[in-house]
Assembly symmetry: C2
Homo-oligomer: 199 residues x 2
């Protein structure tokens, strides 16, 4: 059965959302037009508003509505540490964990030669500009513990070494509350490798 | 970490979509503002357009951009059969199955006394108006095979009986390609109950 043009257009547009395939897009469109019309109107307004107002922090590239994000403009934060992450969501996750008081730099994802994503796409040049001539003493590479995230960390570590700062990588190991018996081999070997003295 | 107002507003607005919780709403918002800005713009436009143009078919309450939907205005369809379903998505599913040539009536969901959804909310009065004084010979009740869908079918069957049309209910039984061994008891007993002569 062919959908009417506006309905077909809405279904197609909803597929721009990550993780939404044709079936869920249709379900969402029907729901919005059937019983969620107020929500649909609110969503259209919120999208337009966010596109107009939300940009990137000049210093760390985090999403922000001001020139500097709340973290970069907070003088209470430790200016000697910069944590490099793949995306704004990673900043939120680390902030929620509550253990970090330094600043950030948000890359545009990770290196992925197969998808044609090289250093320029990640905004590595902006990272160098961000770090040069500053009081930064440690760069924490917190890209994902995936193959691409690992490769990105290795690439950045090499690139940043001449700047003379301490370069660290977040620990890989067993997740807290996890079960050693069910851990995959790579995680387990990383956990062994990264073991620490106790007491 | 507190999101900026426009970002927080977008995350909240995305939760109007069915099946989207706070975590996926945040993921969607970040994605849209980070690398999906064209898609976000398209979505805002499509939402506004669909809200303006898509309404209900005057006769069957299917979503449509014209006064009568394509099925109701198609004179090739069998006017003697009306299939009653819970939602526009059910019409699409039955049309895709390809076996039905009659018309439809789309309820607003199913009866659910606990949620305060009674006959008036389903637009049962409109269904009666739709059926009265027409050439309809058979009403096929195709509400979902759930407890609420079943109750809705039983209610409608009683209500429509005085109109003198044939009232039928879609068959419940084993799904094609399913495995008898793993079927639940209710489905299996419905499948036994609904058995047919062969040959």
């Amino acid at each position: 059965m062919k959908h009417s043009p506006a309905l077909a257009g809405l279904i197609e547009a909803l597929r721009a959302l990550p993780g939404v395939g044709p079936k869920s897009a249709q379900r969402m469109a029907f729901y919005l037009l059937q019983s969620g019309r107020a929500g649909a109107k609110g969503l259209a307004t919120a999208l337009t508003g966010a596109l107009e107002r939300v940009g990137r922090c000049r210093r760390c590239r985090m999403l922000t509505e001001t020139e500097l994000c709340t973290i970069c403009s907070n003088t209470q934060r430790d200016a000697s540490q910069v944590c490099v992450v793949e995306s704004p969501a990673d900043v939120v996750a680390i902030e929620q964990s509550g253990g970090y008081r330094g600043r950030y730099f948000v890359l545009m994802g990770h290196l992925s030669p197969l998808d044609g994503i090289g250093p320029e796409d990640l905004r590595v040049r902006e990272l160098l500009v961000r770090l040069e001539g500053t009081e930064v003493e440690e760069v924490i590479l917190a890209t994902n513990p995936s193959v691409e995230g690992e490769a990105t960390a290795i690439y950045l570590a090499k690139l940043l070494k001449p700047l003379g700062m301490r370069i660290t990588r977040i620990a890989r190991g067993l997740p807290v509350g996890g079960d050693l018996e069910y851990a995959d081999e790579v995680t387990l070997s990383k956990a062994m490798e990264g073991r620490r003295e106790m007491g």
